[in-house]
């Protein structure tokens, strides 16, 4: 009894003490753990060795002895943005036939047999500003595999039977390009942001692919594949000194080629309107608000990164919170101001929502943009975004291969090799005024063309209730000599 009484009074005291402390409740458990968290140990990722050959070829060697593997990739200047418009698809075809067409000494099929039994790969690939040839192999097969890589780099044959297969494959892709609304959206968004004839936006057509000849592939290779256009990166279980000697031997006598001209590319976003692609067999609309972003050289780059994270990035972003979590309008929502190394990225805000909330979702995106003026991103939102970038910073270089890839990218685009370190410093320095400036500069809903891929018969309101609508015809132009299907 006495004991119970004591307990009761103790309880009363405790309750009083607690209620008196309400304004400064103890930190939640997770914050207490964060407070007592150990320091992250200092970490200096292994730096690749950079070698500049006299003929202009740049090589990065990154030793990694964890596993008995050696992988490499050569990135070569010149990509689909540089192909003639009447041969759109050339680089895609080239990059396939480069490998499947084999070398002067061996057919592509012979290479396949030789490599696959060793679980090795040598593969070529296309890009907008470059092509690649790379390999992956067990260390024990490195010499054989490297010789194939070298042979492909210097003596490809582009056999016509493989050109034929590649063209058929691309015809097939063209015939299927309007099957998936996601693919349509991506393709048409680039056209609206950059201009439909922009080299980053144009797509292969039956006629442009049919026009590609073996001679075009040979000529492409002769024009672009010179040591001074190549950055080679190798990562794996090797000794750099030994490998360097081997590479100097392999590439030393390869003569330099002419310097490539700088491309002159125009970026002209479409005028503000509602661009509608009608797709009758969907019950969800893909929506994009579009514009032109900037490059990573822009002094605003770091503020843009913070803005993007806070506004349209992950779980903590405003778009995710307002349009997905609280309104349940979308599974996929997000966006931001795109940045690229050597040309402006795409500014885009996107959402996928049921046909019946299409206009509502567009207005929802507009409201978010307006809200940035009346309720600018708060210090808390900005700090969270910075924390998110800075606390996960180590994941930019937590494997030797990632470090190598970063360095190769900076080298390719002529950025300082310590760009990643500058990025960290840049983000740390971002203030709310910087973020507000960036928002004010880019978030202009009146200037942004809006792409909608969906089924207008089921929209909540016609798009024309928002403004002028332009119907986009995405039907595929038939092959030369054939009539349209409709």
């Amino acid at each position: 009894m006495k004991r119970a009484l004591l307990l009761t009074s103790l309880f009363t005291i405790l309750t009083i003490a607690l209620s008196a402390q309400v304004p400064s409740l103890p930190d939640p458990e997770w914050q207490q753990i964060v407070k007592h968290m150990p320091q992250l140990p200092a970490f200096h990722p292994p730096e690749p060795k950079r070698i500049a050959l006299p003929n202009g070829m740049i090589i990065f060697l990154q030793e990694d002895h964890e596993l008995p593997l050696i992988d490499g990739i050569a990135r070569i200047r010149g990509g689909s943005r540089d192909e003639p418009a009447n041969k759109a698809g050339l680089v895609e075809i080239y990059s396939e036939v480069w490998r499947t067409g084999g070398t002067k000494a061996q057919t592509g099929d012979q290479l396949d047999d030789f490599l696959e039994i060793r679980a090795a790969k040598v593969e070529t690939g296309p890009g907008a500003d470059s092509t690649t040839v790379g390999w992956s192999c067990l260390k024990e097969n490195f010499n054989d595999v490297f010789n194939i890589f070298l042979d492909l780099l210097q003596h490809p044959e582009f056999r016509p039977d493989k050109l034929d297969i590649a063209q058929k494959g691309l015809f097939d892709a063209i015939s299927r390009r309007n099957d998936d609304p996601g693919a349509i959206t991506q393709r048409e968004a680039v056209k609206l942001a950059y201009g439909k004839d922009n080299p980053y936006a144009r797509v292969p057509e039956y006629a442009t692919v049919a026009a590609i000849t073996r001679q075009d592939l040979i000529q492409w290779h002769d024009t672009y594949v010179h040591p001074n256009n190549i950055i080679l990166g190798i990562v794996g279980d090797f000794d750099s000194a030994v490998l360097e000697a081997k590479l100097r031997q392999a590439f030393g006598s390869w003569a330099k080629g002419p310097k490539l001209p700088q491309p002159n590319i125009q970026f002209t976003p479409a005028k503000s309107a509602y661009y509608l692609v009608t797709k009758e067999d969907v019950n969800q609309s893909n929506i994009r608000l579009l514009g032109l972003g900037t490059t990573k050289r822009d002094p605003d780059y770091y503020a843009i990164e913070v803005f993007n994270e806070a506004f349209g990035g992950g779980f903590s972003s405003r778009l995710f919170r307002d349009l997905r979590t609280t309104k349940g309008l979308a599974y996929s929502v997000g966006g931001g101001i795109g940045t690229r190394f050597d040309h402006p990225g795409i500014l885009q805000l996107g959402i996928g929502t049921k046909s019946q909330t299409t206009v509502e979702a567009i207005q929802g995106l507009y409201e978010e943009m307006d809200d940035l003026k009346t309720h600018p991103l708060t210090d808390e939102e900005i700090n969270r975004a910075k924390d998110s970038i800075l606390n996960s910073f180590v994941f930019n270089f937590d494997t030797p291969e990632k470090v190598l890839r970063e360095r190769m990218g900076y080298e390719f685009y002529g950025y300082p090799l310590d760009f990643l370190e500058r990025y960290r410093t840049g983000v740390e320095k971002v203030q709310s005024a910087d973020v507000a400036r960036v928002a004010a500069k880019y978030m202009h809903k009146d200037q942004m063309p809006v792409l909608v891929v969906g089924n207008p018969a089921e929209f909540d309101k016609p798009l024309s209730s928002l403004g002028p609508v332009i119907n986009v015809d995405i039907s595929v132009p038939p092959p030369p000599g054939e009539k349209a299907e409709r």
Binding site: P28, K279, G314
Partner: protein, 508 residues
């Protein structure tokens, strides 16, 4: 001459076996496994390459466990596992809890009236719906939106995500290594005190996910119809994402019940890979995950699919280009022939030396892609081995079927070559090695092998099993499995767009 080749092959075989064994020995030294008293299994693999770690939480419950008329519930709970706990994501849990209980009561009343078959009162339905939605608004005022994800992100979490399939549900991300305790706290709290807040808004998010993946995508539509046709008795006939009427009906209470039944320690494996020391990390993990109360393992039995005795066929008329897929029933992953199916997959589908690529893409030039694969739609229960092909313009799905069947016939009647067999085995070993250098992938592999075999070493054992596959095994299994009566076919046939036609309606 012939003898010497055989000898050198034997030597190569011996060497590679040794190498694999050595790998396992050194790998084993860095790997610690512990079953906690509550039944939860922890696997830690030390890989101190950089100050980071990845984890993978494997829950042995997938959409196969969805209750009747509640398809999509396992996946729905996965979404809810990002909504926080009684301490994270709330402004005042005591009050929030009361309002959430009110939401559930009102929702149940609304559903009863909405789904009345006779004498439904539409006015009453509208009133009940409004009352329920008002209660949702009331509950929402206590919510701190996305606080769980926000903590993970701002603390440097990388790649935070989760997935649900027919067999399992999994959660994963990576953290800087100094946040091990924070992770252990967050991840265990999420499965100790999950709160079903904002459930009905999240349900709309999931419905949008269904629209994106299935309703508005021709391949998504085909795969759903094909799988549904191939399984009639087995729970594999139900889509993971759920049927629309179930999505529009199940409740937060249903999700909570599902959680209590299946998210129990003996159903969970947690794997951690990276810059952690097992001696330091295990006590921390045990401290937090040990709190989850143990419970008896739920019944995992599902309905057995009876033998199929004639071919089934699903043909979808679509505004899309043609596509061909066919599947054959096979036993589950514990079958002694599991590795034989893996070998067949590799032989038929892996790269430009694969038989289907060479036959359909390179030689006949009738397809742009052709391949076979196993594990459709899951592996835990008897499932399908499938083949598919993408016809080039001007070629038909019938030509795909014939060309695939010709290759299947070769499998049944001719031994594969020595070279092919060697290639399959070498690639299996190399793929294993390639997978060892990635924290996230490795955590996933270790957790899944531990869950499926109660032994992570089976990750290496799977390669040993492929090593033992013979040419006769491949012929035998092909003859057993790839027979017409055991086959389900799915095709997309191109429908011409009708200029004035009303909508075809994406949903099936």
């Amino acid at each position: 001459m012939k003898r010497r080749i055989l000898q050198s092959l034997a030597v190569a075989f011996l060497l590679s076996t040794l190498a694999a064994a050595q790998n396992l020995a050194s790998f084993e030294k860095n790997t610690t496994v512990k079953k906690l008293p509550n039944g939860l299994t922890v696997v830690i693999h030390e890989r101190p390459e950089a100050p980071v770690f990845s984890f993978f939480t494997h829950v042995d419950a997938g959409s196969t466990q969805d209750p009747l008329a509640k398809t999509g519930l396992a996946h729905m709970f996965e979404h809810m596992a990002f909504k926080g706990t009684d301490k994270i994501g709330t402004k005042d849990y005591a009050k929030e809890k009361l309002t959430l209980e009110k939401v559930e009561k009102l929702y149940a009343a609304y559903i009863v009236e909405r789904d009345k078959r006779i004498d439904r009162d539409d006015k009453k339905v509208a009133e009940l719906e409004k009352a329920w939605k008002d209660a949702v608004k009331e509950a929402d005022q206590y919510v701190v939106n996305n606080q769980f994800g926000l903590i993970v992100e701002s603390q440097g979490g990388e790649g935070m995500n989760a997935f649900t399939n027919y067999d399992e549900t999994a959660y994963h991300y990576a953290f800087p290594s100094n946040r091990l305790e924070l992770w252990a706290y967050l991840e265990s709290e999420r499965f100790l005190h999950p709160v079903m807040r904002q459930f009905y808004d999240e349900r709309n998010v999931v419905i949008e996910e269904r629209r994106m993946r299935t309703d508005s995508n021709p391949i998504g539509r085909l795969v759903e119809q094909f799988t549904t046709a191939a399984f009639q008795a087995s729970q594999y006939h139900r889509p993971t994402i759920g049927w629309i009427s179930d999505l529009n009906t199940f409740s937060a209470t249903d999700a909570e019940n599902f959680f209590h039944e299946y998210y129990i320690p003996s159903n969970m494996v947690v794997a951690v890979v990276g810059d952690v020391k097992a001696s330091e990390a295990m006590p921390v993990i045990e401290k937090y995950f040990g709190r989850i109360p143990s419970a008896p393992k739920p019944d995992e039995r599902i309905t057995d699919e009876p033998p199929q005795n004639s071919e089934r066929r699903v043909a979808l008329q679509q505004l899309a280009q043609p596509l061909y897929i066919e599947g054959y029933h096979r036993p589950d992953y514990l079958s002694k022939d599991d590795a034989v199916y893996d070998a067949i997959t590799d032989l038929m589908s892996n790269g430009r030396t694969s038989r289907l690529y060479r036959a359909l893409v390179r030689d006949k030039q009738i397809a742009s892609i052709a391949a076979g694969f196993t594990g459709m739609p899951g592996i835990k229960y008897p499932h399908l081995f499938a083949f598919y092909a993408v016809p080039l313009p001007g070629h038909t799905t019938q030509e795909m079927a014939e060309a695939i069947h010709a290759e299947i016939e070769r499998l049944k009647t001719e031994d594969i070559t020595d070279q092919e067999l060697e290639m399959i085995k070498t690639r299996a070993k190399a793929d294993l090695i390639r997978g060892l250098a990635d924290n996230t992938g490795l955590a996933q592999q270790l957790a899944i092998y531990q869950a499926r075999y109660d032994n992570w070493r089976e990750l290496f054992g799977s390669v040993d099993r492929i090593e033992k596959v013979t040419k006769a095994d491949i012929r035998r299994v092909a003859n057993q499995t790839f027979v017409p009566a055991n086959r389900t076919v799915g095709v997309i046939e191109t429908e011409k767009p009708k200029a004035a036609a009303a909508t075809q309606g994406g949903a099936q």
